[in-house]
Amino acid sequence: MTRLSATNLKVRFGDRTVLDGITVVFDSHQVTAVVGANGAGKSTLLTALAGLRKPDGGQVHLEDADIHGLAPRVRAQRVGFLPQIPEVAWPVDARTLVGLGRTPYIGGRGLSQADDEIVARALSTTGVDAFADRNVLTLSGGERGRVLIARALAGEPEWLLADEPLTGLDPGYQLDVASLFRRMTQDGCGVIVTLHDLHMAMRMADRVLVLGEGRVLADGSPEAALSPDVLARAYGVEARFWDGNAGRVIEIVGRRA
């Protein structure tokens, strides 16, 4: 079990404070969903945890090491990151794109046979091997999203930090990705995702972190963290719960008066 932790994390954009002293410890073997209103600092927290943004205050530790003290390649081998905007600049084929996930391991050389096997496994795990040789730019948004997840898998990270990985996926593929993340935690990986869909957070996460105004509003099991009270504070909405066949359902009744 490895630990990824933030201590009194502060990030400012100009004179706007986005993260205002966040302290949180993540354990691997868990899927943690970070939720919160637009602008609550979800993506900022994720990029800071991934070591891609130097905080204005506080630290991020991977085990006992300051994440900004790690060599970029070592950090990249241990912490995989999936950006929110699925940017692909050139018309490369899907296999090549997934192969980029091996970048932290290969230095200047090309992909070895072992690398190719890892890439092939990532392609089949995410179910994209059918279009492995197709130009990524001609794929649908959902297909491209899954290819990018395969890219992150090919890096074999200890931690996967994914910013809105379900955006643009249809309900079936959302469930597929959720169970993929679940399997990754069973293999010892820690998964942290930001989500907008509270139903999916309820459904796929072991733990939910609710952000609001740069602070942690709630942290705990989905049922505990996504209480009507917390949702009112985080989103300004009135919500109620009932138990459905596939778990608890959140109904957003309306804007809170």
Binding site: R73, V79, L82, E87, W90, P91, L97, L100, T103, G108
Partner: protein
């Protein structure tokens, strides 16, 4: 996508380069077939081949390779198929640096100042480009930054022409600015070759970072790419090789733009895999164009820079229309 196997592609480009080199040694005001090259040590034809055409051929290869390579690297870094040292102002900044040394007329005593001036101009230009476009390196900010550099460099060159001490100096500067491989000697080869080699090695080290940048800057950083190091290598590598090239041949545009674009589909669009083929193909294109301007029947030889612009500008237009169509 129809990709060509890498050894085949490189082999074909090398073969083309050898054939064109032979043509380049033979072609000119007098056609000298290869069996006359070694006629006799004091034969005029042998002197023409080895003292005039050989340096010219070697320079064509060096400069073409430098332009093709740096064009591919800049397109990879900016993730923009419309980028090259010419359009983004690096070549004109190199020319500005060179013109400054010409203007002060120090070249008769210190000929090394010319490439040094050009390289300082080019490295300064691309460093300014990277700084101006900043972290939000969208295509638009790069093109705008390049426009600013081109404007500044053109204004500087105009100022030097305006203040030039003698008509002769004006003539020299203008002639050089047009870009040509004519009347070069082994001195120019000595001047350019080491720097182009150093610059090219630095650029070739960028293959992995450029590949990773396919996923954007955040994506590349998450793969452990140090973008600060990438920028420094790019600025030095492109600046040194473009500066050294411009110093010996003047500004030859569009090679850096056209070459990577033609080859991209053949290498599966991977920016890192594009570097070496682009260097070879850049040499092929410049050499072919230079043989062509020598074979054209005209009173004064057409300047290579002018010829490349004549071919390159319509190509650029077609590219722009194509990009627009895709964006709609």
């Amino acid at each position: 996508m129809k990709t060509v196997s890498r050894p085949l592609l490189i082999g074909l480009l090398l073969a083309a380069l050898v054939l064109l080199s032979l043509a380049s040694l033979s072609a000119g005001k007098v056609w000298i077939p290869w069996n006359a090259w070694f006629a006799a040590a004091d034969d005029l034809r042998s002197i023409i081949v080895f003292e005039l055409r050989l340096p010219r051929t070697v320079l064509g290869i060096i400069v073409g390779a430098a332009l093709g390579l740096t064009g591919a690297a800049m397109q990879g870094y900016t993730r923009n198929p419309l980028a090259d040292p010419g359009i983004l102002g690096v070549s004109s900044m190199a020319a500005f640096g060179a013109v400054v040394t010409m203007y002060f007329g120090a070249l008769t005593t210190l000929p090394w100042l010319l490439p040094v001036g050009a390289m300082i101009g080019a490295v300064g230009g691309i460093a300014a480009l990277l700084a101006l476009s900043g972290a939000a390196s969208s295509i638009l900010t790069f093109v705008l930054a390049g426009m600013i550099l081109n404007t500044v460099a053109t204004a500087g060159v105009s100022l030097a022409l305006n203040l030039a001490p003698t008509p002769w100096a004006v003539n020299e500067i203008v002639n050089w600015l047009l870009g040509s491989l004519a009347d070069r000697s082994v001195d120019e080869v000595r001047m350019a070759l080491p720097f182009v080699l150093i610059g090219s090695v630095l650029v070739m080290m960028l293959a992995r970072p450029l590949d990773a940048l396919t996923l954007g800057e955040t994506g590349a950083r998450s793969l452990g790419i140090d973008l600060g190091r990438t920028r420094v290598l790019l600025a030095l590598g492109v600046g040194i090789s473009v500066g050294a090239s411009v110093a010996v041949t003047g500004v030859i545009g569009f090679v850096g733009l056209v070459t990577p674009h033609l080859l991209r589909p053949l290498v599966g669009a991977r920016p890192g895999a594009l570097l070496l083929p682009s260097a070879l193909a850049g040499a092929v294109i410049v050499l072919a164009a230079d043989v062509l301007v020598r074979l054209l029947p005209s009173v004064a030889e057409l300047k290579l820079g002018v010829a490349m612009a004549g071919v390159g500008a319509p190509f650029f237009l077609a590219l722009l229309i194509n990009v627009r169509r895709r964006a709609v």
